[in-house]
Subunit: 444 residues, 2 copies
């Protein structure tokens, strides 16, 4: 009998733990779920005979060490900065580790130790990062195997809401993930490669320089660039690529409206504003506007050269930014206040369904022709607990854990799921859960 230990029983863990409990039943294995809150862990185990809840605090060394020692594979859903601490226990007790988080520099440094102990530390094995890597690698290797030469790769992923959820919401968006990260997204400079030239997009241009995306059967979307698109050239084996751009996907019209908040300075998280306790939504916007004639909405439109009745202003108005409603925070940075105002209408309600959209576009040379593959994934959640996000993050981790337990992954060390022994069985099993890509090919 083998044991999988899941660390963290929060929002994103439901689909993963359900998968692992089902698998444990079939395989006579066991699932241990550890969380700061014993009750939360217990709720996720949900009385299964194959599961057990424990209280887990990474700061409690004897407890952490013992929990990790008692399992065979560890899945860490803890905040990313705790992964290295978990990894060190895994090294000490010779356990495999899986996460859905980006590989940190500290994690990278454990590669040689993990290799020597024949351990797999598999990271970026969720949705984004995760399914994006796997689905891209499947296509890249297919193109190469047929003698094609990849020239361009663009890839965008977004966590949105389903068409039937909140149909009046003109943003077609709610907070389905860490709201703070959504509000501060894109600060810094995005870097990508276009036609062999390094390109840089500062924050102030990011939401203006979008890529138009059409997903057959699902409509029009747009994407803005992520911070560093270049870091996957090597792991993807795309050293000859001329264009590579990875980014975040939103419904069409989102970015130009969001850009208004960016241009005003509403997403700045570096200073606390004055008089927040007595401030209204309208007063918040006013503090970023030039004085002059007309309403805040009119002056804002004028200041940014927009139509006062256009889509950007409609979205901001829908979110209540021009209302004389008290913000309701005692203090805060502009980003905290913006998050708080948005959350009044962007909070996920129990019956809301989220929707994940992932889109890749490859251009490659084949027999002297230039060809294109577009590939897209759309997954809709069931409700605010059984979200598409939890499913698409959790299932790849669960399947990877199964593969590890069954000895089907030979790679060791700090890895991404870019190897066929990982992505082929994971993508194949994801299909059984309705998680699969639609592909269109054409000659350019």
């Amino acid at each position: 009998m083998k044991t999988v230990l899941v660390l963290g029983a929060g929002r994103s863990s439901a689909a993963l733990i359900t998968y692992l409990l089902d698998y444990a039943e079939k395989s006579k294995n066991k699932v241990l779920v550890g969380d700061l809150s014993y009750e939360q862990a217990q709720a996720k185990v949900n009385g299964s005979a194959h599961g057990r809840a424990i209280r887990f605090t990474i700061e409690d060394e004897p407890q952490s060490s013992e929990a990790i020692r008692s399992a065979d594979v560890i899945i860490s859903l803890l905040p990313p900065h705790h992964h290295v601490a978990v990894a060190k226990y895994c090294l000490a007790h010779r356990k495999h580790l899986l996460t859905a988080s980006y590989v940190s520099d500290d994690m990278k440094q454990l590669h040689q130790d993990a290799v020597e102990k024949k351990l797999l530390f598999l990271n970026e094995c969720g949705l984004d990062p995760g399914i994006d890597h796997m689905s891209a690698m499947e296509i890249i290797n297919r193109i190469k195997q047929h003698g094609g030469k990849p020239k361009s790769f663009e890839s965008f992923t977004g966590g949105l809401i389903a068409p039937e959820t909140d149909p009046q919401n003109p943003w077609r968006y709610k907070f389905t993930w860490n709201p703070r990260n959504v509000v501060t997204a894109g600060q810094g400079t995005a870097k990508y490669l276009y036609n062999g030239t390094y390109k840089y997009i500062p924050y102030q241009q990011l939401f203006k320089r979008t890529t138009a995306i059409h997903v057959p059967g699902h409509g029009e979307f747009e994407g803005y660039a992520n911070r560093n698109s270049l870091s996957y050239i090597t792991p993807y084996g795309l050293q000859e690529i001329k264009t590579i751009l990875r980014g975040t996907l939103r419904h069409k019209g989102f970015c130009s409206a969001w850009n208004v908040l960016v241009q005003l300075g509403c997403c700045d998280d570096t200073y606390r504003m004055d008089n927040v306790a007595g401030m209204t939504h309208h007063g918040f916007i006013e503090s970023f506007l030039e004085a002059g004639a007309g309403s805040a909405r009119q002056r804002l439109a004028r200041q940014l050269g927009l139509d006062a009745e256009g889509g950007e202003m409609q979205r901001l108005a829908w979110s209540g930014f021009f209302e004389d409603e008290p913000i309701g925070l005692p203090e805060g940075t502009p980003a905290q206040i913006t998050e708080h105002i948005l959350n009044k209408k962007w909070k996920l309600h129990p019956d809301d369904k989220d929707m994940i959209v992932m889109w890749h576009r490859f251009v490659y040379e084949h027999d002297g022709e230039e060809r294109e593959i577009q590939s897209s994934l759309v997954v809709t959640g069931e409700d605010s607990i059984h979200t598409a996000m939890a499913k698409t993050v959790g299932l790849p981790l669960g399947i990877a854990a199964r593969l590890v337990l069954e000895g089907k992954i030979k790679s060791t060390g700090v890895q991404l799921p870019v190897h066929a022994e990982m992505y082929l069985p994971i993508l194949s099993e994801l299909k059984e859960y309705g998680i699969y890509f639609q592909e269109q090919q054409r000659i350019l």
Copy 2:
């Protein structure tokens, strides 16, 4: 016989040291000039019988302690982060200290010690900060003494070039001060008060939200807001003020052209670009542009919604940003590269004359009327050594040193020159050097 010790014999010290040597001759006092470079210190002393050059390194403790012990008043022109070290020697040896730099938090903490030892640590006693404080306080106190009530205060200062210098230069600007600070100016959020409301301007709006400034006899200028305009409300005694805005002054048209560099991300100093060694000016701009049809100049104009032949593009073209000229740096951040390209045409030539422009606008209530005072100062340099900048920074320090030596300043502790015992004699003596304000008053 008393001794003034000047620490730092760089570009900005000439006028100060000349003033002190002249005064030393009349008063039978002495001037000690310390610099990392003995030769540079000696050049500034210029053979005067009343001066002596010494080698000075703040890191050399015995040398620093002895130099400061041997003098009566210390003027530190060292980089601002060294002032506190100097101040501590001043406390140890009971010496007065003068600087032209902003009071740091560390400096503030020495206030009580300085008071107890009856020492004056006078900071912000140059041009900006310095003459701006003194000239503003003279007007504020005059308004109050006549029963007026200040409602609004705006103040802008800039270091520019004289009309006869580089007449083809459409920016009407060259680097007359630390170029790095010019390129990175305004990063962060500017904060001011307008009509009783706190206002915030993020970097991406800063060079768009300018104040138009007319200086009689000198033409049209514009100003952008400094980081924090609120910090002088208390020292200026303006607790009732409704509007306060301090900023930087440029020739009309400068800011919208500079804004192009800001919007593109050319002033970002947080990351190193790739392939700088092989990059041209044109390639540098290209790396911030969207791909598409047309020249870089055309695409840039389109991307930012500007006229390809308008003033912004003309200024950038004059600076060579669209040329296929190698940058000539082995590596660099965008800000470093921008500085390097600009410096090819903005470096001060020996005969170039700089020009300082300072402008204040006060609105106040008086006998039920609303009145306005505009006050402006224009000072032109003689050449690239005897600059208006060196003169307007150095003379207030020199005069303050004289007042201290003559026992005419009673204030002790960490101070700004906002007290009449300082600003009245300093402003009065500055007039003898051609440094004086023109004032216009009107009823609104």
